[in-house]
Structures are given as C-alpha cells and as structure tokens.
Amino acid sequence: MLSLPNFAAQAFNGLVLGALLALIASGLTIIYGTLGVLNLAHGAMFMVGGYAGVVAYQYTGSYLVAVAAGSLFVMALGLLMERAVIRHFYDRPPEDQILVTFGLGIVYVELVRLIFGSLSQSMPPPSWAAGITSLGFMIYPTYRLAVVGIVAVALLALYLVLYRSRLGMIVRAGIEDAVMVDSLGIDVYRVFMIVFGIGAMAAGFAGIVNVPIAPITPDVGESILVETFVVVVIGGVGSFPGAVLGGLIAGEILSLTSMVDPAYSQVMLFLVMTFVLVVRPRGLLGEQGRA
C-alpha cells in the first residue's frame, strides 16, 4: 500500500542499495577504464569479501576487524589475480579477457561453496548501529542508515584517492595514455595491478558491509554482477561519477518499483538500461571512445 512510511522506507532502502551498487560499480568501472578489462569475477569478489569478513568476525567478534579483513583479503586477491592472470591477457582479444574473468569467478564461487557449503552465513550489526531508529514519521533499522554513511565515507575515500592523490593522478593519466605514463618512467603495469586491487577492494568492502543486512551465500555475487553491469551501462563505462549516479538511480528504481510489484523491479531496471542505450549509448556521464 502506498503510504508515506512505506514509501519512505522503500526510498531509504533504495538509498542503501544504491550506495552499495555505486561503490561496487565504481570498482568495476575504474578497472575497466584503466585496464580495459571487464571483470566478470567482480560479483564473486563481492561475495568473497563477505565470507572473509564473516570468518574474521567468528574469530574476533569485532565488526571493524571483519570489515578490514574482508576488504584487504579481496584486495590481495585482486592484486594476485592481475599479476598472475590478467596481465597476460592485455594483448589478447577482449572476449578472451571476459572468458578468463568469467572462469575465475566460477572458481571463486565453487571454492567458497566447497569450504563453507551452500547455507547462508550471517553476522550481526555492530552494537553501535544495532536496533532501530525513529525518524519521526517512521522507524528504520539503524544499521541500514549506518551503511549509507559508511559507504559514503568509502566513496569519499575512493574519490580522494582518484582525484586528490598522486596515485589517482597517475591512474587518470594512465586511463588517458598508458604508453605516455610508461615513457615518463612509471611502470604502468604496476599501476594496473594496484588499480585492480583497489577496484576489487571496493567490491569486497561492499560485500562484508552488506552481510548484516542480508546473510551471504556463495551465489549472491551473480545478481550483484548483473545489477552492477546495468549501473555501469547507465552511468557510462569508465566514469567514476557515472557509477555513483548510476548506482543511486538503479537503487531507487529497484526499490520503488518493488513497491508496485516485486517481480517487475528487475525488468524495470533493464528497461531503463535499454532506454539509455538507445538514447545515449555512452551512458549519462560516460565519454565516447571506449567500446
């Protein structure tokens, strides 16, 4: 029923979902923008982050340790993946790159399933964000509000790294002209590796932060991957602001349309993606050039 509290709750849900999607999509899009590689294992890395964090929580009982563990583990996985596999595919056709990341995604999922089984794992929210908050006209789970803040901080950190740090400067120059960066004495492959690690870490961070909201199974990565792709197409491939904007839009679409009929929310998202593709193929904030 369309009541204000209901609507507001869904709008907030959309914000939470949108923030998470924005973060995950940012990771995917900077990997693509810099390396030119579409990481089909990105959803799986979201999932791995969740599991790594849960394991850390089971040992330490600390939310913060869990978040750190989830993020760092996936970052390490990303660095290793780039160094051992992706690096050998830069000269190969894009389909080969897609296939190998796809395969690795499957391997990660099955490995996790082997170790943890298919039942879901969960983790409670931290004590300082547990329970519900009253917002006057409605009540809302505190943790979800906290997530919006947490992800906003993460996005801000990502922004600072990309636009205000030396590394970010190198990355942005590398997106434009990797050969020139190499000519200026900077080992561009090392930059690629770091970018892949950062992009992966964004997914892993989102993965663990999401666990208190929705318990994690090995298969959660799949639907996240699809939604992330849609976000990237809407926002524009290779654009960090596009990923953020696209994420927020997608989150709200998914949430609000699910009020009307839960079944239609995915379809609605797809329709919006189709619309963007037809009307503005490079996405809302994307640049012409890449694919």
């Binding site: 050998h88 796809f102 499957i106 197409v233 079944a263 239609y264 995915q266 379809v267 193929p281 694919a291």
Partner: protein
Amino acid sequence: MIEARRGIRGLAFEGWTALALVVAPFVLPKIGFVPDTMNRVLVFGLFGVGFDLLFGFAGLLSFGQSAFFGTGGFVAAYLLTRMGLTSVMLGLAVGVVAAAVAGLLVGMIALRRTGIYFAMITVAIAEVFFFMENSPLSDYTGGENGLPGVPGPTFNFGFASVHVTGGWSMYVFLAVCYFVGLALARRIIASPVGRIFVAIRDNPLRAAAVGHDVHAYKLLAFVIAAAYAGFAGGLLGVLQGYMPPEAFTFDTSGQLIMQTVIGGLGTLIGPLVGAAVWLYLRDFLQGSLGMGASWKLALGVVFVLLVFFLRRGVVGGVSDLIALARSSARAPGKAAPGGGDDSPVFAAASQNSGPAPPPARDPGEPEIAGPILQVRDLSKTYGGLAANSEINFSLERGELRGVIGPNGAGKSTFFKMLTCEINPSSGSIHFEGRDITNLGVTEVCQLGLSKSYQVNQLFTRLTPRENITIAALAERRGKFRLDLLRNPADIPGLSQQVHSTLALVSLTERADVPVSGLAYGEKRRLEIGLALATSPSLLLLDEPLAGMSPRERAETVKLLKSISKGRTTVIIDHDMDALFEMSERVTVLQLGKILVEGTPDEIKANAAVREAYLGGVLE
C-alpha cells in the same frame, strides 16, 4: 584460427559424426554413461551448435542464450501441456519461431554495442528473462515449478507407430534432431553468409568497407543461434517430460559457454564433446569419487586453463595432433614459405602486362556528364582542431590523381570522409552525380567507391583467396542476402572474379597460404587486391608504397599503373618520385587546406610547395 573444416573434406565430417552417434549407445555405457546423460549431451550439443555459430564463427560472445533456450522450451511445453496441442513436432517448431523472434528483438537492442558492452547487455538479458519466467509470467510458466507433463513425440509410419518416451528411443529421436541441426549448420558455414560471419569476426571494419551490411549479418547470426537454442530448449522439455525453470538461469548460459570452450570453439561439434566431458565428469566426480559439489570447481579450473592455453579446446587439440601427424608423414618438397621479393612468380607477372583488371563497376545508367567526384567546401573539425578546411576538389572520370602533403596536412582524414568512414563537419561530396555525404562506408562501397588502407586491414585468419572472395561476395550479392544454404560455387562469375583479381596482384601461387604466412610486400598487394575486388569505379589508395623496398616499389608502381586503366584513381603517398611518375595531376594539401594543384612538373617547381616541405622563413 583455422576452422575444423579445413582438415575435413566434403561429407566426411557428417559421415564420422553419424557413425559416432550410431556407435555411441554401444560403446559409451561401458565407461559409465547412462541413456539419460547421453540424451542430455545431445540436447546441450545442439544448443551449442547455435552458440558456436554465434561466437566461434561470428565472434559474438553472448551470455544470454539461456533466454532463448527457455523461451523455446516453455512456449513448446505450454502448447503441449496447457493448450492441448497434440503434435509434438509442431509444438517444437512454434517454440523455435518464438525463440527466433525473441532473438530478433533482443538482438536489435544488444547489437547496438560491440565487444564488452554487448557481453554486459547479454548478461542482463539472461537475468531479466529468468525473472519474467519466475514471476510475472508464472501463470504460464509454472513459476518455480516449471511445466510438468510434456509428452514425447509419436511418429506414424503407416505400418507402425512409434511413441518416443525415455531411454534409447529418446536417444534415437534426439540423435536425429542433433544430426539434422549439425548438418544444417555445416551448410550455413559453407554458404556465403557463413563466410561473411567469419570475416566479421576477423575484421568487422573491413567487412563493412568492402560492402557488407555487418549489422544485418550479426543480427542474423543472433537469430539463428536463438532458433537453435529454442529448439534445444523444447527438446529438453520432451526429454525430461518436464520443462524446468533452470533453463532460464544465467547458470545455463554459463554452462553452455564453458562446455563450448572445453570442447572447442569454431568446430561445431565442440559443444557436443564439451557437454559429454562436463556431464560425464559431473556424474563421475560426484557419484564415484563422492566429491560432492566440487566437480564444478574442477571444471572451472580446467576452463580457465583452456582459455589461457588452448582456446580451441579438446576438438581443436585433437585436430592439431592429426594435422601434425599428417604433415610429418608427408614427404618434404613443399614450396618454400615466404619469398616475397625473390619468388619467381613476381618476375613472371611483371614481364607481360598481366591479366586485365576486373572491370570498373557498371554504373547502370548511361555515363553522367561531369566530374566523377565533386567535393564542395568539405571540412572536418575535432574540438578546436580543423583537420580539413573547406576543401574543394573535383576529379574527372579516368584520371589518376596524386595527393601529397607534409605530416598533419589532413590527407588521411580527407580519404576517410570520401569513403564515409567519418562524417564531415560541413560540406558535401557528390559521386557520379549522387550526394553521398554521410551515407556510410558500406553503401558507398556498393556504389563503386572503395579504398585500400595505409595500414593493412586484411582478414588475417583467412587465405588470400578467401580474402578476395569476401570482397567479391559483396560485389556479386549486394550488402545483404539471406542465402544460408547456397554453395558459393554456384554464384555466377564469382570464381572468375576471384581468380583474375589474384592474378592481377600476383598472388595466384600464394593464394592458399594463410595471411600470417605472407611476406609484407605480398600482404600489401593483397590489401590492394581487396579494394580491387569490389570493382570500384573510383579507387582510393592510401600510401600503397609504405614500408616497401625499392624493388617492391618499382613493381607496385607498375601494378598501380595497370589497374588505373579504365577507372579513376587517387593515390596518397610520400614517395614523391613514384607519385610524380604515375600521376597526371597532383593536389598538395597543407594544414587541412588545398595549397595548390597542377601537373607534376608544375608542383615540383612551385615555391610554396618547397617551403611547405622544407621549412618556414626563419633566420
């Protein structure tokens, strides 16, 4: 990649496959295959035939084939269970049509983009179709329960009636379906359409530039793959007696891709082999070794390794071994590879005047008076940079014009606008009296204007003969034709045109060597040959002499002079000696504008030209 067909002549492929299908029920159960698994292998093998056509041959990596697998399957199942249709074959046929229509609609959206974007969109499509099945359409599809009660087909042979249920009768039915599907796919690959698919995969830019409607062909490949998927989906329902919602999952698409890569891309039977490996290992690892769910992990690792090292999969690896065994058994004495400059062929061809070049395209109407090409105020700006400014250029029929200019003069940009590879910012281009501005490279080529590229744009996985054939196919058949089952040998004049073009560029002896094995000079000649095979009335040549040794230069100049007879030709090059020798008139570009035009002698003596090349006034 050299397709399997190269090592397999005539109907031997179909013969071996038929034999294998007949023998399998007697052999495979001994190593642990049960009938149900073998039937499943056939269904997925058929599903994969369409996918291999799409990806292995046409180069389009789609993660969304499950959408059509499910559509075909559920439409057929719905008709057969809820609508009371009795003819199973009719139900399957309607399923195929439904899947093909879905493929057309989806393809029109997805194919707006290429490569990475295309892959992403197909992933999204798979999910959307699954959702549609699961919820909004669950009344029709049974939601998570699927549609039970799908009947097996009954065949009336007059004297007897056979009802196919499970087990071996199902195997026979499915094997026949698979065989028909495979044989059809073989025909398609051998047809002009199939050849064009392969060319599109290799070099879509050049395929469009020689006159093929690349988008239409891609859409056709997509629809065909969807139809195969729909047929296989329907068969799945018949096989299981039940249509499962899992048909629609992204997982199913992923499984298909992995099976095809494991079995071997571009082989057509790869998916069958891959499915056999996949399902056998699943049963074996899960059942016998009790490894539970980790069979998929093992297969995932195998898949990654194969993508790394052996993209042609099991079938590819086996056929490579066979080829290796054959060639070491063959007596030495093959013609030595390479030998561009020094091959006797080149010398022989240059002694006489050589065969007549393919004629320029017949304009159809009586010759239009006036210049063949008229360019007015043509400009192209990129941001603030004016690559070409207000170029006025005209060309008389039969002229041989040279175009020169220092670096950055805008010569290549000018050519690209003439062939409509890029659109001008302003101005117009009239070719044979017709306004061709913004028409697009395929259309313009069909009208008789084509170009040979500065950097070779060849179909590198094919031989020179196949390269020329691709261009000639567009010239003979127009930009799109639905001749899926036609034998190229039946196209009138095709082989004659290919033969004479090859002879003209002196590649007859090397016509069946893959492009990767050619010397640089030979590749350059093939590049010119490709443009020639489209029978242009106006031929543009962008730096045809680039990177050639002095001897190759001299020979190529002779070639260019001979092919310019009977057509209009424009040549850009930096080798001014050669250009002045060949051209009747020369146009000089500088900083995007025309500096001066005149005869070679006039240009040589022109002070402004000397200055443009040698430097400004600076003390």
